[in-house]
Symmetry: C2
Subunit: 238 residues, 2 copies
Amino acid sequence: MPKQRATKRRTAKGSGLPIASDRTRSRLLEAAGEMFAELGFHHATVRQICDRAGANIASVNYHFGDKTGLYTEVVRQSMRAARFDAVRAALDQHASSEEILRAVVKARLESLWGQDLPDWHFRILIHEISKPTLAMNQVVAEAIQPVYARLREVISKMLGLPADHEKTRLCAHSIIGQIMFYAFARPVITRLWPEMKMTASQLDRIANHIADFSLAYIRTAGAEHGKGKLPSEARKRR
Amino acid sequence: MPKQRATKRRTAKGSGLPIASDRTRSRLLEAAGEMFAELGFHHATVRQICDRAGANIASVNYHFGDKTGLYTEVVRQSMRAARFDAVRAALDQHASSEEILRAVVKARLESLWGQDLPDWHFRILIHEISKPTLAMNQVVAEAIQPVYARLREVISKMLGLPADHEKTRLCAHSIIGQIMFYAFARPVITRLWPEMKMTASQLDRIANHIADFSLAYIRTAGAEHGKGKLPSEARKRR
DNA sequence: TACATATTCAAACGATTGTTTTAAATTCGC
DNA sequence: GCGAATTTAAAACAATCGTTTGAATATGTA
């Protein structure tokens, strides 16, 4: 009766017993990560994953219970990935708010188009955003929510408004949206702008543009709210 | 031998023969549009579609050949949908560039969150962008490319730069990205900002924010590049 | 070595998918 | 109204999915 031993096995592992080869387990995780990042949860098949990992079909059942168990483990692993820490490091570095913002934008963009793969962690997050699974709550709580809050603090400082103010949130969305566009609309962009080659310098120009584009508004709005000036930006709005 | 009569039937239709009830065909198209918009191409099943349309399973084969035939027909129909015309109308209206931009942003956002469904045409485009199918080329050529080009012209006028200049393109991407963020990240937004209710006025505030956010940069950049020209055409308006 | 456990393997299972088949019902020109 | 074409209906087909089975093998321990 060796059915669904995944959790039981983990407890045995925790009890201090020496473990046999975790090679298949780790190979399974790596292969699953690449496949999930490339195809998403539903389109990636366990047979493909096991083939790529050189493991048997039943191994995913044995080690992770079922496909969703494997996926959630991949997601959990992705949350602690280096790239996210890079973004957090950029957010927490000791520098001016504007420089922090520029660094964050650059880090996020590089984790998207940078050819220094495998960085499928962020791509999994992309799939999770466009087609959420049950792991969504965990992803939001562990990876998105902290960065979102920290980004709002940085913007809040520049705007002179509280971090949970609507304008602060909308500015955060504007910045994130500009970045995510290059994640979601990748196939469209290559068709709309075929002569563009995503080199390192091109990536740099895009990141700087997004920073400049965003700071243009944040600076003026911050000057208004900070000095208590009359809002010249406030147009005749009904 | 009535197998795969879909194309043959169309030719008979073109030959001037009166057609029997196209009721099932149109009901199939409508049901398929809703299902494809909600679940995407792969996740929507022909059985669900036929159930919703009150038609038999084999009807999709008979009328459209296969599932992809049905999908491409739905896409073709979506291209001529009202909302896209609304955006194009906003782009071609006789007004200042800034007001055109504001109207375009508003039209796009309303086709996303507006509760005046069924407006699944744009949602199909969203799915097509995140997970392209073979219909992608058609979608880009017929729906995205024209709007993209027209939007660049509007921005080009404000920037004082050619429409295919890199900065013009990046500005267009920044604007589109801000809008699309509310399309792709919808489940994330509701988790990150749970107290937000997407009312009509909220939608209006978001649209105006995106316009203000974008115009802040475009105005200053336009003033720089268009030194010889009139700094802003918003002046002459009103 | 001998026993118990952990792990891997090939094969099959049940469910669901898109598609096809075969026949009945409906429609339309004549 | 009749015969041919069109349209619908129920059932089954073949392929693939995730999952399970039961035995074989590897591993660690006494």
